[in-house]
């Protein structure tokens, strides 16, 4: 029996351990795993969110009472809380478009040369695979006055507001 130098066995074990560790490291980082079914659910969710904003934006007066611009213009500019949002009519309209989908709405705009993001509607904390749909609206002094909002837009100026709809399923 020749029992000198067991080093080859140990080498083999080391190599095996290294490889198994590497594989474990890869499988544990969730980046790699993209099941197709989940991906298509995300696509559907994003599409629905974008459709909802687009329809609100494009709808003629006889289809919906207010379009997205009018709904945003009517905002009272207060920061929303989960109990009380600052854009109730917009909430009602989006709610009819997105039944059984949870969502928040943020408004992003430039004020005093800085980008301001204000929460307008809060329904909860978005989960990990939430999607965002955006749609810009342009506010004039006249649209704000007509909608009774509190936006500060001077009569020779316009304000571009990005409506961000964050949607997720629970």
């Amino acid at each position: 029996m020749n029992d000198k130098a067991q080093i080859h066995t140990l080498e083999g074990l080391f190599a095996a351990t290294l490889m198994v560790l590497t594989v474990m490291l890869i499988t544990r980082s969730s980046l790699i795993i993209t099941p197709q079914s989940e991906l298509s659910m995300d696509v559907q969710l994003k599409q629905t969110a974008e459709d909802a904003l687009a329809i609100l934006d494009m709808a003629p007066g006889t289809a919906l009472q207010f379009n997205l611009t009018e709904l945003v213009a009517g905002g009272n500019m207060t920061e929303a809380t989960p109990q009380d949002n600052s854009l109730k009519p917009l909430d009602t309209e989006i709610d009819t478009q997105l039944n059984d989908i949870m969502y928040n709405v943020d408004l992003a705009y430039v004020e005093n040369d800085t980008l301001t993001v204000k929460h307008a509607i809060i329904h909860g904390a978005p989960v990990e695979n939430s999607v965002v749909a955006t749609r810009p609206v342009t506010l004039y002094n006249s649209t704000v006055t007509q909608a009774g909002g509190a936006w500060n837009v001077s009569s020779n100026d316009v304000k571009v507001v990005e409506v961000r709809l964050i949607a997720w399923r629970v």
């Binding site: 020749n2 130098a5 067991q6 080093i7 080859h8 066995t9 140990l10 080498e11 083999g12 074990l13 190599a15 095996a16 490889m19 198994v20 590497t22 594989v23 890869i26 499988t27 790699i32 795993i33 993209t34 099941p35 197709q36 079914s37 991906l39 298509s40 696509v43 559907q44 599409q47 629905t48 459709d51 909802a52 687009a54 329809i55 494009m58 709808a59 003629p60 007066g61 006889t62 289809a63 919906l64 009472q65 009819t96 478009q97």
Partner: protein, 324 residues
């Protein structure tokens, strides 16, 4: 006999290389399975997605190679269709539309006339497997509030009934669907008859589609105001000839029975008259009778329904289901 160790592989090396190769083999066959997704094998999700997108966002296309004509108004050229899309397009000669997601009524009704072979090929709902064509099953439906829409008496649904025992790939899109025509009047632009609580609208016949009249921005001065009924050329309509819907600041248009109380200036009325009331080529005079209302304009000529007519769009859901 002489025993020699030369030429024999050492047990130690054999063990080492075996452990290494076994693990290596395992890793090699394990890694690809990490990337295989659960439903990648022949998923029709992309097909459903593509079909829904083309139907909702594209006006379609037709072309006739012999006389070199083309356009997006394929609904007028059913024999030369290249692609079926339902989006409204104001300029049929250019490929793009400014109104995606707004579905055109004529296009929708024309799709219902197409046969299955035509639909399958123009919507691309098939696959070529070793030279032979395999058609997918599909069902495309426009739904509003959970039930299929009905336009001009037709249920807007084409394709087959989805099977219950198969995987069905489904995409839904939110769209605006043209369902008819509407004339929307502000209360301060309607014409009145002998009294200020009677609105008169002229409707020139014949009308092939239901006449929808909407009155908004109603200035209510008396708390007991109401809408009572409508008469056509002096005689009272039976209630089944028309229906009235009322919108308040808390609800969308809901069916109401007359007399309908009007309490708030944000209230709006929508009256839907059956088109069979206007069968011949003449001018019909429609009277809307209110109680305790003060409409301003009095004198003829009376306002024309057709002067304010525009397509009526309603929010709806486009559902595309595809299966093998």
């Amino acid at each position: 006999m002489m025993v020699t160790d030369e030429g024999q592989i050492s047990v130690d090396f054999l063990l080492g290389i075996s452990i290494f190769l076994l693990t290596f083999g395992f890793v090699i066959q394990f890694i690809p399975s990490l990337f295989i997704s659960t439903s990648a094998g022949g998923s029709l999700n992309p097909v459903a997605y593509r079909t829904a997108n083309i139907l909702a966002d594209d006006p379609g296309w037709w072309q006739n190679k012999t006389n070199a004509q083309n356009g997006t108004d394929w609904e007028m050229h059913l024999n030369d269709i290249s692609r079926i899309g339902l989006a409204t397009d104001a300029t049929p000669s250019t490929r793009q539309t400014r109104t995606p997601k707004m579905l055109n009524k004529t296009k929708i009704l024309q799709v219902l006339k197409l046969n299955k072979t035509m639909l399958t090929s123009k919507l691309g709902l098939y696959n070529k497997i070793s030279g032979s064509q395999v058609d997918y099953g599909y069902n495309i439906t426009l739904e509003k509030n959970g039930s299929p829409m009905i336009i001009n008496g037709s249920i807007i649904s084409f394709g087959e009934t989805p099977p219950t025992s198969q995987d069905i790939y489904k995409i839904t899109r939110q769209v605006l669907v043209e369902t008819g025509n509407i004339a929307s009047f502000r209360a301060d632009e309607v014409t009145t008859g002998s009294s200020s609580d009677k609105v008169i609208v002229n409707i020139s016949g014949p009308q092939s589609e239901d006449v929808i009249i909407q009155i908004i921005d109603i200035n209510i001065t008396n708390p007991n105001s109401s809408f009572d009924n409508a008469t056509l050329n002096g005689s009272l309509n039976i209630p089944s000839d028309y229906s009235v819907y009322k919108r308040t600041n808390t609800s969308d248009f809901i069916y109401s029975t007359t007399p309908i109380p009007l309490e708030n200036s944000t209230d709006a009325l929508r009256l839907i008259f059956n088109h069979t009331l206007f069968p011949i080529n003449t001018t019909y005079q429609l009277e809307l009778n209110f109680t305790r209302m003060n409409f301003i304009q009095i004198w003829p000529p009376y306002i024309e329904y057709t002067s304010k007519i525009e397509p009526l769009y309603e929010p709806a859901t486009l559902i595309v289901e595809v299966w093998k």
